[in-house]
Symmetry: C2
Subunit: 135 residues, 2 copies
């Protein structure tokens, strides 16, 4: 039982075959898969799984904060396991997603919110760019 499965069990979720599949797909993903992609990957392992289950499971995992739902400038959601905090740079030419961290940025956004009289609860920071020096 991997780490994610453990956390789900702790949260009182039944560990059904479908859930294990989805968790495995998420756990081994090195990208930021869409629901469709999670579905396709899970389907390779058990062709009877349905989209509805994938949607329901991802929503549960999001509520439990075990995954993060991203809505980049696309018309669908992508997911990733909630591990170390980081931000994303999206390559506009390939759709690739690059992760980065920046301590200065973290401080700055807290500071800005506080100066405006707010407690920062959540945020969204995404950069969209094109590779320099492309041939």
């Amino acid at each position: 039982m991997n780490n994610l499965e453990q956390k789900c069990a702790d949260a009182g979720l039944k560990m059904t075959g479908q859930r294990k599949l989805i968790l495995q797909v998420l756990d081994t993903a090195e990208d930021h898969p869409s629901v469709e992609t999670v579905y396709e990957r899970a389907k390779e392992l058990d062709s009877s799984i349905s989209m509805a289950t994938v949607y329901r499971t991802l929503n549960m995992l999001d509520e439990l904060n075990l995954v993060i739902r991203h809505e980049f400038k696309e018309n669908f959601s992508r997911y990733e396991v909630n591990e170390a905090h980081h931000h994303h740079l999206i390559d506009l030419e390939t759709g690739d997603v690059i992760e980065f961290q920046n301590a200065e940025l973290e401080k700055l956004k807290e500071k800005i919110a506080n100066e405006l009289g707010f407690d920062l609860v959540d945020h969204r920071l995404e950069l969209y760019g094109k590779k320099i020096n492309k041939k």
Copy 2:
């Protein structure tokens, strides 16, 4: 003819009655209206205008960069006239949108993109918070 109308005319758009209405609604808006809201406000001025026209017009304006389309953590789009660059803090309790600017932040995001080997083309930065010291 206001500033927005002038820019549209310059872009070769026909200045129809419906477009003038939508431009006027946007120009006088002090908030960040959704398509639905733009539609409702335009409808007060001419009850025969249709949603399809509002959608089409906002899409055109977005392509011409005369307005900015925002997709905050909601399931619909909001628009504002593209004027001075700024970011947004969304009050999670009221849905109010507060605008802010921060020079340090601007530099920082450029720098981060460049360090990753990218030209920054676009970005998204939104803060979500709750008012401090609420009674």
